[in-house]
């Protein structure tokens, strides 16, 4: 229990026994080290979270002051509102559109960029370059590309003789268009992490495989993917959470429209809290989103962690 008894104490210059015991208790010393981050987390994460849960149970006036305790009424109103159901559906679809395709795309790019050929550094830089772009800047670029009257997308379509599409104005296409832009934005980050994972795989495994003379496909399935699984697991969890929390590109590209088809939950929270001044409803949505992400992440750990191979 007492570290000082087994090892030379790092604090032995202090003579007072009281002080010495206090300082050398590993728990307290540990807490002391954690203090800075605990304070920061507390101020910027834990307190706001508790406050959100608290606010979600109240009727709030337009200036954000809680008025009356209403219990779960905010939640009941949400479940009954068709607007919230549209939001939930949009969020779910958005996650489905962006995460699997984004991961597969980044994985393919990472596998390509992992080859040792001349000039590969150029391609690695290119593939990861979207990471250096802010969401705002890239959204504006995509906005111009999607512009129905002057954008490149419609020029391409009319170039191959197809009729024009109102990318961001047609409820059928809007969510997919935003999803496509998001995949492009997120690929850089996912690619970089996956490439790092690939480079960490022990080369001896591949050498043994070469001696055994197995096919490339076999190597991919039996060596690369299992060895990459911790990294893959990490990027899946992170991408999923990111995708649930998408805001910037929605705000710039569609503002939740048309007909709320891209009104994902985070955007809906923003609108309710800062445009409509319904802080109670916004807090309730935030709490629901939190638990939704929590459940999905826990499920991911429960269901897929067994398949993750740690060295």
């Amino acid at each position: 229990m007492n570290l000082a008894q087994r090892e030379p104490s790092p604090f032995k210059t202090y003579d007072e026994p009281e002080r010495r015991r206090w300082m050398s208790s590993p728990f307290l010393a540990g807490m002391l080290f954690l203090l800075p981050s605990l304070v920061l987390f507390g101020v910027f994460l834990f307190y706001p979270m508790m406050r959100t849960i608290y606010l979600s149970l109240y009727l709030i006036d337009t200036q954000g002051e809680p008025l009356v305790f209403v219990g779960v009424e905010n939640f009941i109103n949400l479940f009954q509102s068709s607007s919230f159901q549209t939001s939930a559906k949009a969020t779910g679809l958005f996650v489905l559109y962006t995460v699997p395709i984004g991961l597969i795309l980044a994985l393919v790019l990472a596998l390509l960029a992992n080859e040792k050929v001349k000039g590969i550094g150029f391609f690695r830089t290119m593939f990861s370059s979207t990471m250096g772009m802010s969401v705002a800047a890239s959204s504006v670029i995509w906005m111009f590309m999607y512009n129905p009257s002057i954008g490149i997308m419609n020029r391409l379509l009319s170039g191959i003789g197809m009729s024009e599409v109102q990318w961001l104005l047609d409820p059928q296409f809007a969510l997919m268009s935003v999803a496509a832009a998001t995949i492009w934005m997120n690929t850089g980050f996912t690619f970089l992490i996956l490439l790092g994972g690939l480079q960490n795989i022990d080369q001896q495994l591949y050498e043994s495989a070469r001696v055994a003379g197995v096919s490339d496909w076999y190597k991919l399935r039996k060596i690369t993917l299992p060895m990459l699984s911790p990294t893959l697991f990490f990027v899946t969890v992170v991408s999923l959470i990111n995708s649930f929390q998408t805001f910037g590109q929605i705000d710039i590209l569609t503002k939740g429209g048309p007909m709320e088809s891209t009104n994902v939950i985070v955007y809906s929270i923003y609108k309710d809290a800062f445009i409509n001044y319904n802080v109670g409803s916004a807090s309730a949505q935030a709490v629901l989103l939190f638990f939704c992400i929590l459940i999905v992440t826990v499920l991911q750990f429960k269901l897929t962690e067994r398949k993750v191979h740690y060295q």
Partner: protein, 446 residues
């Protein structure tokens, strides 16, 4: 190890100390500056004017400060109207609140309900200020039950903007813009070609409100909320349905272009020749004339056939005084507001920005006359406002859930492009707005 620990703790204490000492220093500075100025009243002015508008506004503030030794106005940009209002929320009623706050027209009811504002009527009464010099149709919006709550400042109205070159190419008279719905539909049909649409309206609630008001239709009950609290939306009336029927019919005919919700997209569509006529804010007229590669015409909002034109509601923003500010500060703020309303300041403001002059005497100033000679279209926007009849319809609705109501209207507009029935779409928007009104009534305890 121990040294490291102490070092880290030391750094941490320093950081915390630095944070708190910063704020106390800032406070000291504030106190020092307000104290040392010895009677120099400080006016903090929060606004939402960005880009060229901010430059124009700062010019006005600098001129005021230079000509008033005992007052120092500090103008601070706080983001869009919505963002600024959110920031105001966190400080309203405290010492840190701005003395003057610029808020958009639909925030009027919201500002009154906060209870942290001082109606400017007090100073109008005290100084016997002559409000009849103001443009009545503008100041009307910001007066409730005969009391002037805020000082009108930057105001704009909607206008029909059209491409004169396209009119000529289609065999239409470029000097004669469509004034009624059937004229509009006819012109749009002639203007529509393979790559050009006749007409467009931005999917934005303001234009719908204006098109209803120009027919004399109300947005909410209680005479647009001007006589008592509005409890129900009424824009699914005949007037509202007229507007939706027009959009629906024109979209089905293929003469109406869905320009989305983004102002810049719509303007780009007009400038690139995609649409030949559209509705825009009068504040956008000048740059549209400057930046279009063709002749631009400006005209009044169209009305249904055989309907008497009632006029337009003003958009834009007004200036609010904080009730928490000290007497001397309020007095200084009022002086600044008075200054802003003088004809020559308003003339410059009108010329620089395209916003209306709240003081019509400004239109007699030389700078304005020169400008109008160069851009005769600007006069059309002023005339449309002058001809407006002062009714509760053109005074504009007074509800605190305006932003939400607008979202519902936009949804309904967008559903038209998916083939929704105009009456049903409007009924749904009204129902959803009613819910928002109900929730809000619960909040304010009514």
């Amino acid at each position: 190890m121990k040294k490291l620990l102490i070092l880290m703790m030391g750094i941490f204490v320093l950081i915390l100390g630095a944070c708190s000492s910063n704020t106390s220093e800032a406070n000291d500075q504030e106190e020092a500056s307000s104290g040392s100025a010895s009677g120099k009243a400080e006016v903090l002015f929060w606004h939402a004017m960005s880009g060229e508008l901010e430059t124009a506004l700062n010019k006005l503030v600098d001129e005021f400060n230079a000509s008033h030794d005992n007052i120092e106005v500090t103008a601070i940009f706080q983001g869009t109207y919505e963002e600024a209002l959110t920031k105001l929320n966190t400080v309203a009623g405290t010492e840190d609140a701005p003395t003057i706050m610029q808020t958009f027209e639909v925030g009027t009811k919201y500002m009154i309900d906060t209870g942290h504002i001082q109606p400017v009527q007090k100073y109008i009464d005290e100084e016997d200020y002559d409000t009849s010099q103001w443009e009545e149709n503008i100041s009307n919006y910001y007066s409730v039950n005969g009391e002037q709550y805020s000082m009108p400042f930057n105001s704009s109205t909607p206008v029909l903007i059209y491409n004169k070159d396209a009119f000529e190419a289609a065999g239409l008279d470029p000097e004669k813009a469509p004034m009624t719905y059937s004229e509009l539909q006819e012109a749009a049909a002639k203007l529509t070609t393979d790559d050009q649409y006749g007409f467009s309206i931005l999917n934005y609630g303001w234009f719908f409100e204006e098109l209803v008001a120009v027919q004399g239709g109300l947005f909410v009950n209680g005479e647009n909320g001007r006589e008592g609290q509005a409890t129900e939306a009424v824009f699914n009336s005949e007037e509202g349905v007229n507007v939706f029927n027009l959009i629906h019919a024109m979209y089905e005919d293929g003469t109406f272009y869905n320009a989305g919700q983004n102002w810049d997209d719509m303007r780009a569509a007009f400038q690139s020749g995609r649409i030949a006529m559209y509705l825009d804010s009068s504040a956008g007229v000048k740059s549209m004339i400057d930046n279009s590669p063709f002749e631009v015409g400006v005209s009044y909002l169209p009305v249904p056939d055989d309907t008497e034109r009632q006029g337009v509601i003003i958009g834009g923003a007004s200036l609010w005084m904080a009730s928490a500010a000290e007497e001397a500060e309020q007095q200084a703020a009022w002086e600044f507001m008075e200054y802003l309303a003088t004809p020559d300041v308003q003339a410059n403001w009108h010329v620089d920005t395209g916003y209306f002059a709240i003081n019509p005497a400004a239109y007699e100033e030389e700078v304005v006359k020169e400008q109008w000679e160069q851009y005769p279209q600007l006069k059309v926007t002023v005339d449309q406002l002058k001809e407006t009849k002062a009714t509760t319809a053109t005074q504009g609705a007074l509800i605190s859930v305006f932003p939400e109501a607008r979202q519902k209207v936009v949804n309904a507009m967008e559903s038209l492009y998916q083939g929704a029935d105009p009456q049903e779409a409007l009924d749904r928007a009204v129902e959803e707005t009613n819910q928002a009104l109900e929730v809000n009534a619960k909040k304010s305890g009514n």
